[in-house]
């Protein structure tokens, strides 16, 4: 039982990760794939953020009488990763728009069929 409750943040992370990855693989709709990718990346952000929490620690601001702080570094790192993820999403959606213009569809199967006809 401790295994589940004590490490609940990791269970959430792994759960989200699997949901995200499943959507990327199973969905044929290009926008939904990107949503899945986002969920997958968000799980990693939660992982980084939750691992910096120290039990009983406060925010890392120098105050008299407090000696236990949470680690601020992972937050900073993940801020960078969030920006990267944002850029990826923007680029991905821009590509979807162009694909829609060029193929007239955003379903993986239909695009594949049109490609096969050309070859």
């Amino acid at each position: 039982m401790m295994m589940i409750l004590g490490l609940y943040n990791y269970w959430i992370v792994v759960g989200l990760m699997m949901i995200g990855l499943y959507i990327v693989i199973a969905q044929g709709n290009l926008v939904k794939k990107i949503v899945g990718l986002n969920i997958f990346q968000t799980s990693v952000f939660i992982f980084y953020i939750s691992l910096s929490k120290v039990d009983g620690g406060t925010a890392p601001i120098l105050v008299d009488g407090i000696s236990l702080y949470s680690n601020p570094l992972p937050h900073v790192l993940i801020l960078t990763a969030i920006v990267v993820s944002l850029a990826t999403t923007a680029l991905g959606l821009a590509l979807v728009v162009r694909i829609k213009e060029a193929y007239g569809s955003i379903e993986e199967e239909e695009i594949q069929i049109k490609d096969n006809q050309e070859c």
């Binding site: 691992l51 990267v84 990826t88 590509l95 060029a102």
Partner: protein, 492 residues
């Protein structure tokens, strides 16, 4: 000034990219990009000399010493890779202006150079940095710009290929991010040197195993190891010719650099190769990759597809050399890294010339090209011979060392399979030769002329390098040997 070279190497193209917007005219931007790339090449030569004379250079960003600050660490391996990337980029850029005239609309040409510079920055950054999180950031800089570059292809399939690459590449990069997070969790540090010292203390924990597994899978996606190679053929085939040449010459090489850097320098050889069965796994996947990809290459109708599959096979050779796990094996991998960059950039640039004249790289449109574009086709044949591994070309040198390394380790079957794999290369190269020299040209292509000088000069520079380094192997072998020995901790 000289002390700041490690960071200038990366900053120069990064700063130059936005400046391109002010120049406005594609021709000026091209000259500017060429100068920046040339300067980066000069810097990398200077860095290489410094490293060879005085050993590893450590540059502390902002004067903050590691492991708190971010440091750039240039050792022999990174200096070697920097040289490959900058040299290839500069030579390929020579043809860029002419090539993109017919492949990218004028209004988008400036953006092409900006993205190119960003991608270039990312690759240089991955190789220079000594901080694992920095690796992730630079990886994403180079990948995101590469997705956009591929999407610039003329064909609409370029968009679909770029999208697929984006999904696969992001999954790979996120896996690397998870690996880095798990490593940080166990050690509390992101500095590679510091990680190498602290990881052995916690090496037998499941968290470190998981970190290693996530990282390796992520990198293997990036380097297109069989069976994670599915994104590569379409991405290479439909990207603009210059982009294909650039990515084929550098992108997978950088991923292999990451693999070597993390398994040898960060996790350590004994952890990567003894605790976990990485060796067996990689040698099997590498060999399957060689055969599956080479066989697939034989059946391609599009010549760019054909060489893209051949790239996957060549990655297989590099992985086989790496998995032998001896100095000799690693040396063969590094040599092949250098040599493969030379041959694939020559081949893809020559294909760019064909694309420029004919507007297609289907095998059927190659009919009779041997007489119409003699110099271009001769370059493709020379590059193809190098790919097969004919003596007096660079391909022979790296395969020779690879076979030697396998035999030295007692892996006879591997040596035989590597040679058999080369036979498959003969078949797919022959298909191009047959189409170009032994088939009658189609009536409509009577007016096809030789490619312009802007193509012939860089292509023949690369072909000359293919032959030169195949005969005079002192530079490449010495460099590969020095880098491999420094990774194994042998004092040269």
């Amino acid at each position: 000034m000289l002390a700041h070279l490690p960071v200038l190497q990366v900053l120069l193209p990064l700063m130059a990219a936005p400046l391109c917007l002010f120049l406005r005219r594609p021709y000026l931007v091209w000259i500017f990009t060429l100068i920046v790339s040339g300067l980066a090449f000069l810097i990398s030569i200077s860095l290489l000399q410094q490293v060879m004379v005085s050993g590893t250079i450590v540059y502390e960003m902002g004067g903050w010493p590691g492991p708190w600050g971010i440091e750039y660490r240039i050792d022999k391996l990174s200096a070697f890779l920097l040289l490959i990337i900058t040299a290839m980029s500069t030579v390929i850029l020579l043809a860029a202006h002419t090539s993109i005239q017919k492949e990218i609309p004028k209004s988008r040409q400036i953006y092409f150079y900006i993205l190119y510079l960003f991608s270039f920055t990312g690759m240089l950054g991955i190789v220079s940095t000594g901080d694992v999180f920095n690796v992730f950031v630079f990886l994403e800089i180079s990948s995101l710009s590469a997705y956009a570059l591929i999407a610039m292809g003329k064909d609409r399939r370029a968009l679909w290929a770029a999208y697929q690459y984006l999904i696969m590449g992001t999954i790979g990069a996120t896996f690397i991010l998870i690996g880095i997070g798990l490593m940080y969790q166990m050690t509390g540090t992101l500095n590679m040197d510091d990680l190498a010292r602290r990881l052995p203390e916690v090496a037998q924990t499941r968290t470190v195993f998981a970190a290693f597994a996530f990282f390796i899978v992520g990198v293997c996606l990036k380097l297109a190891l069989f069976p994670l190679h599915l994104w590569l053929p379409n991405a290479y085939a439909y990207a603009p010719s210059i982009v294909t040449a650039f990515l084929a010459a550098t992108a997978t090489k950088v991923a292999i650099y990451l693999l070597i850097r993390f398994t040898f320098s960060v996790f350590g050889l004994s952890f990567s190769f003894t605790t976990l069965p990485l060796q067996t796994l990689f040698v099997v996947l590498g060999l399957i990759g060689i055969f599956v990809a080479s066989t697939a290459a034989i059946y391609q109708k599009n010549v760019k597809h054909l060489f893209a599959y051949s790239s996957i096979a060549q990655v297989g050779y590099m992985i086989v050399g790496y998995s032998i796990g001896t100095t000799m094996g690693l040396m063969a991998t590094l040599l092949h890294l250098f040599n493969h960059a030379l041959m694939k950039s020559a081949l893809f640039l020559a294909l760019g010339a064909v694309m420029y004249r004919i507007g297609s790289v289907q095998l059927s449109s190659f009919h009779g090209l041997g007489r119409q574009m003699p110099f271009t086709m001769a370059a493709i044949v020379a590059g193809g011979l190098s790919l097969i591994g004919v003596p007096l070309t660079v391909g022979f040198v790296s395969k020779w060392y690879l076979v030697l390394a396998a035999i030295e380790n007692g892996w006879w079957p591997v040596a035989v399979l590597v040679l058999l794999g080369s036979l498959l290369a003969i078949i797919y190269v022959w298909r191009i030769v047959e189409a170009a020299y032994f088939k009658e040209p189609a009536v409509a292509t009577d007016r096809v002329r030789e490619a312009p000088m802007a193509f012939l000069i860089p292509v023949w520079l690369l072909v000359a390098a293919n032959i030169y380094f195949g005969v005079d192997t002192r530079f490449s072998v010495e460099m590969a040997q020095a880098a491999a020995q420094s990774l194994f901790g042998v004092s040269p």
